[in-house]
């Protein structure tokens, strides 16, 4: 199924390389999560367990914040659900590219579908059809970095909290810029991206907190679809 890549590197190695910027971002953010979880009173085992079975950056940070504040269990779980609802859109957007995948492979893929791995896959699938080993290697490498960062943070508990001098806090922002840019292949795509960005900021300030990304994405993608279907008639 895979298109042979020009380089002779094995597929999984390419996947590891694609995850490099994610690793740069996940190590410090995972570390920060580990420190916060430690301060919130979670055991190191629970802190690492959450990174293994939840694997969702912002939701984990919010989750341990709520635990520290003594929020009820159900409200923590519902908040997690709302924060991660945007992944439904990403999961749907990737689905046309995974037509020949077995259900168990889809299950394994979805488990490690984060904002960042999605961004890498979406940019890849937009131009090529990466091998399955590449896709899984990117996901696994990313999660290993996330778990390692969490564990180090929980173990170090605030020895090193300042990663700013290295600009590491910008790794994921720069990655999103690069992955967005390579997808902007025509003016309509640029328009949709600009609209989504502006709406997201606008929705944030009118109080759509947690919903701004989903709402902006839905409106902008629908507008793009309407324009494309209208002009191609």
């Amino acid at each position: 199924m895979a298109v042979q890549s020009l380089s002779s590197r094995p597929g999984w190695l390419k996947g590891v390389a694609l995850a490099f910027p994610i690793v740069l971002g996940y190590l410090p953010v995972g570390f920060a999560y580990g420190v916060l979880a430690d301060k919130a009173g979670l055991s190191t085992l629970n802190t690492v367990l959450m990174s293994v079975i939840v694997f969702a950056g912002s939701a984990q940070l919010i989750g341990v914040g709520l635990m520290a504040a003594g929020a009820p269990a159900l409200s923590i779980i519902i908040t997690t659900f709302i924060v991660n609802l945007r992944h439904m859109l990403m999961s749907a957007a990737i689905s046309p590219y995974l037509k020949r995948w077995k259900k168990i492979e889809l299950g394994a893929f979805a488990f490690e579908l984060t904002d960042e791995t999605f961004a890498v896959h979406a940019a890849q699938f937009a131009s090529t059809r990466p091998e399955q080993s590449t896709v899984f290697a990117t996901n696994l490498t990313s999660q290993v970095a996330w778990v390692a960062g969490s564990w180090l943070g929980a173990a170090a508990g605030g020895l090193i909290t300042d990663v700013e001098p290295f600009g590491l806090d910008y790794a994921l922002v720069a990655m999103f810029i690069a992955l967005l840019v390579v997808q902007l292949k025509d003016r309509l795509l640029v328009g949709v991206a600009v609209l989504a960005g502006l709406l997201s900021v606008a929705f944030l300030f009118i109080g759509f907190n947690q919903w701004n990304v989903i709402a902006a994405t839905l409106v902008a993608a629908t507008a793009g679809t309407a324009v494309e279907l209208w002009t191609s008639r």
């Binding site: 694609l18 490099f20 910027p21 740069l24 055991s43 629970n46 367990l49 959450m50 694997f55 969702a56 159900l74 923590i76 779980i77 519902i78 997690t80 659900f81 991660n84 859109l89 990403m90 999961s91 749907a92 957007a93 037509k99 995948w101 889809l106 893929f109 979805a110 488990f111 579908l113 999605f118 979406a122 290295f166 600009g167 590491l168 910008y170 922002v173 720069a174 990655m175 999103f176 810029i177 690069a178 967005l180 840019v181 795509l189 949709v192 991206a193 989504a196 960005g197 502006l198 997201s200 944030l204 300030f205 990304v213 902006a216 994405t217 902008a220 993608a221 679809t225 494309e228 279907l229």
Partner: protein, 105 residues
């Protein structure tokens, strides 16, 4: 107790990631849906990205004192020219580190 909260969080995270790809990947979707899904990746990336560079704390910051925004523009140009994820990320990080080191951000 914490363990069960984590288990609940895992389920609340996994279901939204799993359900769409599980049910949609084996189906032939109508053209309008395929077109719509094509616009989701750039839309959702932009919707996550823009607030992260123009919102500082809880206010809009599009001034020259916003290092994240200042670094975003050259990073965007580098990404456009090189099409390289690796180079773009290193340039972005270097700009932010340099801004802090040399310009006192």
């Amino acid at each position: 107790m914490i363990f069960f909260i984590i288990l609940g969080m895992a389920l609340a995270t996994y279901l939204p990631r799993l359900v769409p790809v599980w049910f949609l990947s084996s189906r032939d979707l109508p053209r309008v849906v395929v077109v719509w899904l094509k616009y989701i990746p750039p839309a959702v990336l932009a919707a996550m990205l823009l607030p992260s560079v123009v919102v500082a704390g809880d206010r809009l910051d599009v001034g020259l004192d916003n290092l994240y925004l200042l670094a975003a523009l050259p990073t965007l140009v580098v990404a456009w020219k090189t099409r390289s994820l690796f180079v773009s990320v290193l340039v972005g990080m270097a700009l932010v580190a340099a801004g802090r080191f040399f310009l006192g951000f």
